[in-house]
Symmetry: C2
Subunit: 304 residues, 2 copies
């Protein structure tokens, strides 16, 4: 593909910065479709047949994307929920990604993949490389860092060549997160060592707006960790899940945004997707209202 | 499903021990189908169309399973290579798993998944739980341990209820594996801390043959690590990839087998799948010969 090598690819950081400023939003809605929580009009036989469940999930994702598109910069499909429905679910994942892309949204695949060598190359190809004349299924993806620096090379190559973004998982909001905080021999917690690794890996893939293609997932329920992450990775986009259903509040997040309006992304999943279950409104209306509310709140906290 | 709760599930360790003794084999063949390496008779348009590529991979996997079934205790499909072909690839993965199960083989899905909360439950459901009246797609799967103890709860529940097995990734053969060996404040490398975690998590899911449902992936290219892993996890099944193409030799592995004939599994992928590329024989014949050779070699090393 000789054409590819001469096309000047816009780096992820610049694409994201443009999108955030255009939409005036740092909000991602997580697509976590769960057959047992879908609106009754989409449910059908989903509890018993995976093909029907996958179809219900695909329709749910389209409806949510339509509803929240004015208020979000992108979507974060959680691959596990699609994968749980097998090949039919994976088809629904691909369709949701294409639908979101057609709506002008950034697609961040929450896959948390991690492997080595040719396997790592296969995962990078699965998410961040063009396929059959089609664009990559996602603009960016999450990865696990345990297998070390060279396990990330194929993703970094895709970031350089195709404008993709990479988000390494640093810390999470679960109670039993006993590994990420382990003290290393120099006294630092493990996740901070990995934060420096992310910073170094991304140092030469920085766009004109100062943001690297290599970012990090930082649990928004740890406000002190957010500030420390910002300090360790000044050019990284921080992905902050855990707002809404997982308990973090947007005010905890202000320090994440000190590297620019697009230097952090806030993601909310259940609190938007399933807002209708507590409000009693139409599911699309409820999702749109909650997304609009979070958009304003995050934009105000970011202070740009 | 009330019937389920009263059915006495055979734990993974016992199922595996039976299978290893019946087959006189501790060998797994890794299913890493790569369209660019397939036999020419299966290739067709695989370089350009993912549906055709997935079909070629599915036929390759069936042929390999038929060829190696007499010599192996199971197969280890590497999910990434299927996932790289999208939903069609995921269908080929499901078909390969079902085909191997029908051939009486243990199916170990090499997925290295890792996430928290409801997402972790979705991954456990995807691989280790029955679906639509069908058995689980896999007998066991690999997971990443970085997200900590409670991230593994859903998999452990599936191991207890459905007889599944879990393999946590400890160390790998890549050059840049700089994270797994980080020294903790007590001087131990990170992976050894995780080895103890695996031991503890699996202590109450041990079958009558003394093997736990929770095992570990230990790079076979580190013979000293293999012995240390055995010492730290006396009841764990050790999955040793890296024999063959990745450079380890079966003689490095003897210490892994000191907890019984089924206390370690050796996996070989490229050296079996693509043996035909160096020998010039029919691809099935070449794979069968290499699998038979490795079966004997590993059985001799295990010394049972």
């Amino acid at each position: 593909m000789s054409a590819e090598s001469v096309v000047a690819t816009t780096l992820f950081g610049d694409r994201l910065a443009d999108a955030v400023e255009r939409k005036r939003s740092q909000l991602l809605v997580g697509l976590d479709p769960r057959p047992d929580l879908l609106p009754v009009e989409l449910v059908g036989d989903v509890h018993y047949d995976r093909a029907a469940a996958a179809d219900g999930c695909a329709r749910f994702c389209r409806g949510i994307i339509d509803a929240v598109a004015p208020y979000v910069v992108g979507v974060k499909p959680q691959v596990a929920f699609f994968e749980a429905l097998g090949a039919d679910g994976f088809r629904a994942f691909e369709e949701a990604c294409a639908y979101a892309r057609a709506a002008g949204l950034v697609v961040l695949a929450d896959a948390k993949r991690g492997d080595i060598g040719s396997t790592s190359r296969a995962y990078a190809a699965a998410y961040l490389e063009p396929r059959d004349e089609e664009p990559p299924v996602a603009d960016a993806m999450t990865v696990n860092l345990y297998l070390g620096r060279d396990s990330l090379d194929p993703y970094l190559a895709a970031c350089r060549r195709h404008g993709g973004g990479l988000f390494g998982v640093l810390n999470t909001s679960n109670e039993g997160a006993d590994v990420q905080g382990l003290a290393l021999s120099d006294g630092r917690p493990l996740w901070q060592h990995l934060a420096r690794m992310i910073h170094e890996l991304g140092e030469d893939i920085v766009g004109s707006r100062g943001l690297s293609s290599v970012g990090a997932v930082v649990g928004a329920t740890h406000p002190r960790a957010v500030g420390e992450a910002r300090r360790l990775m000044p050019q990284a986009v921080l992905l902050l899940p855990g707002v809404g259903a997982q308990g973090g509040s947007p005010a905890d997040l202000a320090r994440a945004f000190t590297s620019g309006p697009a230097s952090a992304l806030v993601s909310a999943s259940r609190s938007v997707l399933y807002a209708f279950r507590s409000t009693g409104e139409d599911w699309r209306t409820a999702a749109a209202l909650e997304a609009a509310r979070l958009q304003r709140e995050v934009w105000a906290v970011a202070g740009w």
